[in-house]
Each structure stands twice: as C-alpha cells, then as structure tokens.
C-alpha cells in the first residue's frame, strides 16, 4: 500500500509536468466544467500559462518525493496534498478554487499533525488550522465580492469586470484576499504559525509545504494582482514591498540565530517568500510608468519562487535523511556529515549555495535579476516607486548578508568539521539509493538552472510581459558572466595543486590541549555576535546555571541556554486568548436541544428573506 501511494504521487507529478508543458505551449485551455443551479457555484477547471511554472515546480517536487521516499508512512495524505495543490492551480472559477484551496488546507493539516501525540505538534497544528481557516474565509469573501460585481464566477469574467469597472469594492476584495494569501505564504505579520508547523511535519511533507504550498500562495497573490483584480492601485505595491521587506529581513534574522535545522529552514522560507513578494510589489509599482521593467521584475519574482521551491525542498529532504541517521536535527549535535552522508551532504551543499544566492547557482541568477531590476527602477518612475525600490534594495541586501552568515553556519557546523555525536563518523557511509537520487536530481536542477538561467527565465519573463501587456523583455543578459566563474576555476586549481604538491596533515593547534569534537565551535556560539548585534529585535534571554560543587573554582556542571523571544508572539497569544473567550461565550447558545436549533434555523431563514426582499 505504501509503495502504491508513492507511485500515485509520482504519477501525479508527471501529470503536473505534462500539464505545465501544455499550458506553456498552447495557452489557456479549458479542461471541463460543471454547471450548478446557482451560477456562483459553477466549477471550472482549465490550464493557464500563469499556473504553468507552479504546476511544473509541483510536478518536479512530487516526482522527487514520490521516487525518493518509496516507503513512507504518510503516503496517502501526501498524494492527496499533491492532488489538491494541482486542483488549486487548475481551478478557473471561484467555487472550484475555494474547494481546492480547502482540500489543500485539509491535506496539509493531516501532514502537519502527523505526530499528533506530541504536545508541540498539537499546538502547531492548532495555530495552523486557525490561520488557515481565517485565510480561507477571507479569500472566499474576496472572490465572492469580485464575482458579485462580475455577475459570473469564472475567472475570465472576474478579470473582465475588474478591468472595466473599478471602485472601492475592488480594494476591499484585494485587502481581504491579500490577508488570505499572505497568511498561507507566511508573510509578516501572519507568519507566526509557519516556523512551528512546517518543521513538525515528516520531511517529504515539509519539503512540499515549503517548496510547493508557499509557491501556490504566491501564485494566489500574482493571480489576484495581475488577473482577477487588475489593474491594482500602486498603494498595494507599496504594501507588498513593505510586507515583503520586513518578512525577508525578519525571517532570515530568526533563521540565522536558530539551532534547529528544520525550524531554521522554515524561517528561511519566510525570507524567500518575502523576496518574491518584494518583486511582485515592485512590479505593481512600475506597471503604469515602466511596463517593460515591471515585466522583468515580475519574471524575476516568479523565477525566484521556482528556484526557492527547488533548493528548499532539497534541504528539507536532506534534513529528513540527517534526522533518520543521526536521530536529531539540532545543529549543536551535528557535525562532519560530509563523511557519513556523502550524497546527502553534497546535494545539500549545492542547495545551500543556491539559497545563499552564491554564483553560479540558480538563487544567484534570480536574486541578481531582481536586484538589477530594482536598481534600474531607482532612476525611473515616480517618487513613490523610486523610494520603494530603494527600500526594497536595502532589505534584499541586508537579507542577503544575513543569509550568508546563516548558511555558513549550517554548512560549516553540520556538514563539515568533526562529528559531535551519533553515527556521523562511525557507521558505514550512506550508499546511493532512491532518496539520495531524488536529492541529487533536485541539486542537478539547481546547477542546470544556474548555468543556463535563460532556459527557465525566458518563458517566465514572457509570462510576466503577457500579464502586464508589453513585449517580452530581453533576458539574454541574465547569463552569468564568464569572469564570475574565476572563483570556481581557482578552487579547482587549488585542488589540483594540493594533489600535485601534496599537503601535510597535522593535529589542529589548540593551545596545547587535545582538540576534541567537544572543543569545536557550536552553532549557538557561531550566531552569538548576531544575537548581540540585533538584540533590539531578537530580545535574547540567557539562562545560566552553575553547579558549583565543593569549590566555586571548579564547578561540576555549567548549563547555558539562550532563547530568543519572537516579537509578535505575545500579541498573538493575547488575541488568541480573546478569541477563545469569545468562543466560550458563544458556546452558551449551543444547548444541544434539537428544537432550539430548529428555532435558530427558522430565525435565520426569516432574516435572510427579510434582507433579500
């Protein structure tokens, strides 16, 4: 049965890839529709070029998960999750979209709550349910509002109506929908559930949650801003740039000081969602004054969303394999994995180079393009757009610098150095199997896209141009200049020299003491300067307990623990407590008496009839 579910997931992935290819080549293609008695409830399915890159990404990730984890415990929820995400991407009417969205939320909840016996998992799942349902409700309200003005519920009708008749209702709908999509994407200030919920799922599920579902939430934002409610007012561009900037910097800041590998990756997802959102917001700002620039920016944002899906899911799958072998993903207990897990750590090294936007990987290509577009935007457009571009650049480079520090930690502490604990050094090195094959495939895609970015970028830039309504921009310049490959050549040369001239290996100098694994720098120590520099945001708290023993000069044990306070948590908890109080009050009307419930129904009916007349 488990093998069957993995096969279904793989098959769904292949279908998604095929659908993406068809959508790219033929353009919009209706797949089928189901009429309902009420026109608002009609169900339309179809392919669309905008959904194509996301379908392609989903396909690749589903294949990697299906092939790589053939004996997984949560196979059927995973397959259902992939199917629901594919439905979201092919939904072409309001009811179909909302139904698929809810199915996706439900399937992902099953995965988040996989280890429901743990208290932390229950709390994470609870927070996820609440945010997810609130978001789904606002998306429903927004789409209904748009549909009510369009008089029809197909996406084509919505787009036509929004384009022809503007009004305040459109802005209300945008605000509601952005709340919904933003909460699913983990954008500040609706991000708090993400670093709790994503890491507690099984690794393949985390990979799909961060790699594919966040991309689908971003698809929702693009769909809203460039199709369903287009043209949107520039102020929404400013909002998106601001929210994206805070998410990008804040997300990576928390990631840089976190020691739990999976939670660190979840925080870094917030950063990348923020980066893509910055791109979308900037594209909105430049749509009117500089349409070609807006098309480039939108293309770069979509490109980054795809890239993030690839390297983030590779890292989550890798974290899963680390957890399986070492029994932990705590960076302070990992080390020297490059020896015990050569395949996994090589693939993770590639993904890390990609996520830190280092040349010549795919993350470099998309962030470079985005930054270059924003820099071009500094001198054109109106004052609002230029100022937003400057703010976006500052946020992007700050996030970039922190990302370098964060992933130097992950790489240097976990993958290199000496093993601290567990089977890292002992035990036979892993052999090449399906799981490491899937990882290697994802890493190879990262390298290929980094080497030939225009292959993926050209269709995406064309898509951006199509959404904005200009000729496709020239993306030939996106290739990495040959000079930037000098560092790689230098590295290869150094390896050759080391082989030819020989290198002598001697013990590490550590002031006369024996350099043991315990004397190595820990992840917590590595991020200490960042915790101090950004103490005004991170609010670090140190807890130090000294067990003095007989003499204060030779303590028996010292326990040192440091935690960071998450700024919004107290506010969220306050709101949560109020909501629970309200619902407790609301429970009083539930008397479990059938007659009373029938009376409620009758009252509602009377009110509805009265209002409708």
């Amino acid at each position: 049965m488990r093998r069957l579910s993995a096969a279904v997931t793989t098959l769904l992935g292949l279908l998604c890839l095929g659908a993406a290819a068809v959508a790219f080549t033929t353009g919009p293609l209706p797949l089928g529709h189901l009429d309902a008695a009420v026109p608002l409830l009609r169900l339309d399915l179809g392919l669309d070029p905008l959904a194509a890159p996301f379908l392609g990404l989903l396909g690749v990730l589903a294949i990697a998960v299906g092939l790589g984890e053939r004996r997984q415990e949560y196979g059927w929820p995973l397959a259902a999750f992939v199917a629901a995400m594919a439905c979201v991407l092919t939904a072409r009417s309001v009811a179909a979209f909302v139904l698929a969205w809810e199915a996706m939320a439900l399937a992902s909840l099953l995965l988040v709550a996989a280890h429901v016996e743990l208290r932390t998992v229950r709390r994470a799942a609870f927070a996820y349910v609440i945010v997810s349902q609130a978001g789904a409700l606002t998306i429903l309200a927004a789409l209904m509002l748009l549909a009510a003005h369009a008089g029809d519920a197909s996406f084509a009708a919505l787009a036509r109506a929004a384009h022809d008749q503007g009004g305040a209702w459109r802005d209300v709908a945008i605000a509601l929908a952005l709340f919904g999509f933003g909460s699913k994407a983990g954008l500040f200030p609706l991000h708090f559930w993400l670093p709790r919920a994503h890491p507690v799922a099984p690794a393949p599920a985390s990979a799909l949650l961060s790699g594919a579902m966040l991309a689908i939430a971003l698809y929702g934002i693009v769909l809203l801003c460039f199709v369903l409610a287009a043209p949107v007012a520039p102020v929404w561009g400013v909002v998106l740039v601001a929210v994206g900037a805070v998410s990008a910097v804040g997300g990576i800041l928390y990631a840089a000081v976190d020691d739990d590998l999976k939670r660190l990756l979840a925080f870094s997802s917030i950063e990348h969602v923020g980066i893509v959102t910055i791109g979308i917001g900037a594209a909105i700002l430049f749509t009117r004054s500089q349409p070609p620039l807006a098309a480039t920016l939108l293309g770069a944002a979509l490109f980054h969303a795809v890239n993030h899906g690839l390297f983030k899911s590779a890292l989550f799958l890798g974290a899963g394999r680390i957890a399986k072998r070492e029994g932990t993903v705590d960076l302070n207990q990992l080390g020297g994995l490059a020896r015990g897990l050569p395949w996994t750590s090589s693939a993770m090294l590639v993904a890390i180079l990609g996520i830190a936007a280092l040349p010549p990987l795919n993350g470099f290509a998309s962030e470079w393009l985005l930054l270059r577009g924003l820099a071009d935007g500094l001198t054109v457009g109106d004052a609002t757009a230029r100022t937003s571009a400057l703010a976006a650049i500052v946020a992007l480079v700050l996030a970039g610098g922190l990302a370098l520090a964060c992933f130097a930690k992950v790489c240097g502490i976990a993958l290199f150095g000496a093993a601290r604990h567990g089977a890292g050094a002992s035990g036979a090195p892993e052999r090449f199997d399906a799981g490491s094959g899937a990882l290697a495939g994802l890493a190879a895609l990262c390298i290929a896209i980094g080497a030939f970015p225009q292959l993926v970028l050209a269709p995406l830039a064309q898509l951006g141009a199509q959404l904005i309504g200009v000729a496709p921009p020239d993306v030939a310049a996106a290739r990495i200049p040959a000079v930037a490959l000098l560092p790689l050549a230098g590295g290869a040369l150094a390896l050759v020299l080391a082989r030819v001239r020989g290198v002598r290996f001697a013990p590490t100098w550590s002031c006369g003491s024996l350099p043991g694994a315990a004397a190595q720098y820990s992840a917590t120590a590595f991020s200490k300067p960042l915790r101090r520099i950004f103490a005004f945001v991170l609010l670090p708290q140190v807890e130090k307990r000294v067990d003095a023993g007989p003499s204060p000069w030779f303590p028996r044990a010292i326990r040192y623990r440091t935690t960071t306070t998450h700024v919004l948590d107290r506010t969220i908890r306050w709101i949560g407590a109020r909501v629970l109080l309200l619902s407790r009050l609301g429970r009083r009307v539930q008397s479990r008496s059938l007659r009373l419930y029938l009376a409620y129904a009758a009252i509602v009916l009377v009110v509805v009839v009265a209002v409708a007349r």
Partner: protein, 279 residues
C-alpha cells in the same frame, strides 16, 4: 585590456601593501620592513609545503584558490583601464565577493579550531552589515543618468556620503584598524587573519596574494567613485592609501560590539547618498 589590467593589479598589489606597511611603521617611528617585503614573503611561502589540520575536507583545500579567484574577478571588474566585462555589474560583484567570504568561513569552521571558528563567526556577523553598505554605496555610484561624483571639482553631498560609506567598507574589507588589525599576533583579536590561521606554505601565499589584490581593487573602486578619468583615479588610489594608513595610526581598534554601529552608520550614509541622488 582586461587581462592587462588584471595582471597589472596583481603585480602591483603586494607593492602597495608593502608601501602602506612601511608608511605606517615610519609614522610610528619604526624603520619597518622595506616596501618590497611582501614579494619576498610570497616567494618564500610559495616554496614551502602546506600543512592543514588532520581530516580537513576538500573544501579547506579549495578555499585559497576560491579566494584568489574572487580577488582576480574583482581586479578584472574594476573600471580603471578597461570597461568592466559584459554583464558583470556591481550586484554580481557583491555576490561574488560573498562567495569568497562564505567559502573562507566554512573552511575556517572545517578546521575544528576554536580560534578560526570564532573568527569566522565574527567575520560573517560583521559582513552581514558590510555587504549592504558596500552594495548600496556602489549602486549609488552606478545610478544611471546621475552626474559623476565630482563633476567639476566640487564635491557634491551625495559623493561625500557615498565616499565616507565606501571608505568604512574598505577598512572592513581590507581588515584594517579600527575594525580589524592585520598586524596583531594575538589570535583572539583577529577577525580576517584569524580565519586563515591554520593555513601555511603555498596555500597561505595564495591567501595573502588574494587579500592584497582585493585591497588594491577596493581602493581602485573607491578612486573610481571619485573620478571618471584615469590620472585622477590613480592619484586617488595613492591619496586613499595614505588616508587609510593615517586612520590606522590615529585610531585604536574599536571594541567588537562597537563595530556594528560604525557599519550601520555607513549603511545609513550610503542609503542617504542614493536618496539624495534619486530624490
């Protein structure tokens, strides 16, 4: 032309380093090593065998070469004699610099030594602030259509702000007082030099040459910010080297957690400089 420029920068970088060290010694009343000493050091190190900690990985073997490659990329990209090659703009340049920094930090963590790891931690934490200042200052200079920084001998406000930011960045990137100290021999106070503590022999020669080329390239970029034509830019390199040596002699090294304030100031001034130009 790019090749000639790169070779020229590589050939002259040790001389500049030696001259700055000589000047610094003279100002402090010491005779100091001659200006050509770095060439001798490089030649001596190049003939020696490399020694690395036991079980150091392939990444540690690669790192000196990557660092040298990054320095060469930078030297090729300086708009001094030749226009920068093709699409290599300031953004790509900053990311390539990031690659060099990242590889050195990971190699330092791979050494299993507390000293190198601590230096790596400090280097990466501080460079999280240096990189924004660098990129924004350079972007400010690049902003298309903006007037050159010194149009007709008058220094504009934007130019002064960008130049201040860039000088701070140069101090940080070339590991100089008040941010770092190249000449100390106390492991706990080193940042950049601390990272490469475990390297020796020809690998150390590569790393030292890389640091010297990077230093000259940074000064050339700063001089290029000042003036678009070659003679003034060359004079600018000399003026800036003297200025940096004077700063090194006049100030004490900042305490570690005071450095972020200086770097943040540089970021704010760089942003202000761009703001003035686009505003």
């Amino acid at each position: 032309m790019i090749l000639v420029q790169t070779l020229l920068l590589v050939a002259l970088a040790p001389l500049l380093h030696g001259a700055m060290r000589q000047l610094r010694a003279r100002l402090a009343g010491r005779p100091g090593p001659p200006a050509v000493q770095p060439y001798r050091d490089l030649a001596r190190l190049w003939t020696k065998q490399a020694v690395l900690p036991e079980r150091a990985s392939w990444l540690a073997l690669c790192a000196p070469g990557v660092a040298l490659g990054v320095a060469l990329t930078l030297a090729a990209a300086v708009p001094l004699f030749a226009a920068p090659p093709g699409a290599l703009d300031v953004v790509a340049l900053a990311l390539v610099l990031g690659l060099g920094r990242w590889v050195l930090a990971v190699a330092a963590l791979d050494m299993r030594s507390g000293f190198t790891a601590m230096a790596a931690s400090r280097e990466m934490s501080l460079s999280a602030l240096t990189e924004p200042a660098l990129l924004i200052a350079l972007l400010g200079a690049r902003v298309a259509g903006a007037p050159p920084l010194i149009p007709h001998g008058n220094v504009s406000i934007a130019a002064a702000l960008a130049l201040f930011a860039f000088v701070v960045v140069t101090l940080a990137e070339t590991a100089r007082v008040p941010i770092d100290n190249q000449e100390t021999h106390y492991e706990l106070t080193m940042i950049h030099e601390g990272q490469v503590l475990e390297y020796g022999g020809w690998q150390l020669a590569m790393l030292q040459l890389a640091a010297q080329v990077r230093q000259l390239a940074f000064l050339a970029i700063a001089a290029g910010l000042l003036a678009p034509n070659l003679p003034i830019a060359l004079a600018g390199i000399v003026v800036l080297s003297v200025l940096i040596t004077l700063i090194e002699n006049a100030f004490a090294r900042l305490r570690l957690f005071e450095i972020p304030q200086l770097l943040t100031t540089a970021i704010v001034l760089a942003v202000a400089s761009v703001g003035v130009r686009i505003g």
